[in-house]
Amino acid sequence: MSIQPSSHDTRYAIRLLLPWLVGTFVLVFVPMAASTLLSFVRWDGIELSDANWIATDHYELLLGIDDKQPANDNHPQVAVPHRSITEYTLARKALWNSLVFAINAAPLNVAFALFLAVILDTPLRFIGVYRALVYLPHVLGGVATILIWSWVFNPTFGPVNTLLRFLYDLLDPMVGMLTGQGTSQWLVPGWLSSETWCKPAVIVIHAWTAGGSVFVFLASLQGVSPETRSASLLDGASTWKRFIFVTLPQLTPAILFNLVTGFAAAMQSFNYSYLLYNRDQNDGLLFAVLYIYRCAFEPPYRIGYASAVACTLFVILFSITGCLIASGRKWVHYET
């Protein structure tokens, strides 16, 4: 039953909604439109009269359709230090890095969170304490913990490689017997300073903060209907079969939710890249948001170009999110 809107309610609602409405328009919708417009403009963000309408030139350069510099370019191309790589190749690389990170990190986080939720979904004593402890890394994740992790992955002195060297030593006699050559020649990964291993390392750091999604799963585990559970028990289903065929289908809405929000968050991650990327070593950790930040907030301030990269990032983000949600029709099981 819906009640007709009353003028008293309307007047009062506007007063209560005012802060939120102002925020939504001034800080969300107007900036969104502005970002799109700015991407068609060459501008350093200082004097509005300096802005040049260049239509889709930024996008053409980004996509590599047109490699010429736009006419009367008042911003010199930024030289990439120590490396013979053009600016637009670097932009594509940054977008690619963010995409690779998000595509790997988001599903991994969901799987890890699901595992944690399943083992935490038991009526033990002190279970609340364990749940709080698992949630804690999610709350603590920030500059402080990234600094700690950068130490954990230190190639020479860090605990991860110390453990690896120890394992190599253990395996040495066995491998020596099988292949005739011991493990003394095996190398330990350079982790954050290596092009190949930097992404796995950051994905592990990101997985450590999966606690946030655990709570969505715990909440929906409570929604798993006891009837289906008892029915499957009567049918003699094993624990594993019960999880795959009874529990998991009922968790699919939560999986989709965590996947979509986790993917968006990973695509927009900035801190890992800012704190761990070392431009003298390799570009594996140059994420798109760091690239956008550098273009927009470091001289020569290229507001328009940065906006174009940002818009490209979000076209990618929205299309993948759209595909995920569309695919959900096939695999997400909604209560009927």
Partner: protein, 269 residues
């Protein structure tokens, strides 16, 4: 699943913090010992006080506390107000506003960064805390509004009606009846926005340029930049910087979804 596997998982998750703690109490030689040693050769508690003296640590901490508390207060207040309007009032264009709320929920924050920066620069807000705090006072994010809306819906309207008979205004109903009854929602929004503003690194990086105004996240970055040679002190500073978040979490966690999430009973079978 049994207790042992849960404890094992918790221990593995705690490992990085344990490594950091062991490094933080040891002398600098231990950091670059090869092969690496697990336990510190000598416990030096003065590392913590040294770390706080190298850079204006207390100042960074206070700055962060001010920013995070102001922002969290604003987020709780303004999103509860909007949530109340959505849950309890019937106004013209409510459908349109609902659509706005859902649209704002999916707009990626990074897309708004540059225009917001231009706006705040033109307002002369650079190098103040206004760009960090004011957005929280303007609705505190679509997600928080949505959370309050959904939570208020679960509270019976009979309470409102009883209060109305006693002559209470909407404002009184919101602040005296619904908010006290919505402790889980208040605690969730307060914790999420406190933690968000405490951890936030990008916005302070863009808006704050004066060293004295740095928040903790930026301050820790200074430790990383200037402190490559004293890794043990960097770790000590990082650990101390986690304490306020830990305190906020411990205070608020017992309210967060307390009845449903933390202590539910699973039927035994």
């Amino acid at each position: 699943m049994n207790r042992a596997s849960i404890i094992l998982v918790v221990l593995v998750l705690a490992l990085p913090l344990v490594f950091a703690a062991l490094l933080a109490v040891g002398p600098i030689e231990d950091v670059y010992a090869f092969p690496a040693r697990i336990l510190p050769s000598n416990v030096e508690w003065t590392n913590f006080s040294d770390a706080m003296k190298r850079l204006p640590f207390i100042r960074f901490m206070l700055n962060s506390v001010v920013v995070a508390c102001c922002a969290a207060t604003g987020a709780v207040l303004t999103s509860a107000m909007a949530g109340y309007a959505f849950a309890r009032l019937n106004w013209r264009r409510k459908k349109f506003c609902t659509l706005l709320l859902i649209a704002a929920l999916v707009v990626p924050a990074q897309l708004l960064l540059i225009p917001q920066f231009l706006l705040f620069t033109n307002l002369g807000w650079v190098n103040t805390y206004k760009p960090l705090i004011v957005p929280a006072w303007l609705g505190g994010g679509a997600f928080n509004v949505y959370l309050f809306w959904q939570f208020f819906r679960t509270i019976s309207r009979n309470y409102d009606d009883a209060a109305k008979l006693d002559g209470a205004s909407h404002w009184t109903i919101l602040t005296r009846i619904l908010m006290p009854m919505s402790k889980p929602a208040v605690a969730t929004v307060a914790l999420l926005s406190f933690v968000y503003h405490w951890q936030d690194f990008q916005k302070p990086l863009i808006y704050l340029s004066d060293f004295q105004t740095y928040t903790m996240a930026l301050g820790l970055r200074m430790y990383q930049v200037t402190g490559g040679g004293w890794m043990n002190l960097v770790m000590a500073a990082s650990l101390i910087a986690l304490i306020p978040v830990l305190v906020a979490f411990l205070i608020l966690q017992k309210h967060i979804g307390a009845p449903k999430i933390f202590n539910h009973d699973v039927p035994k079978c």
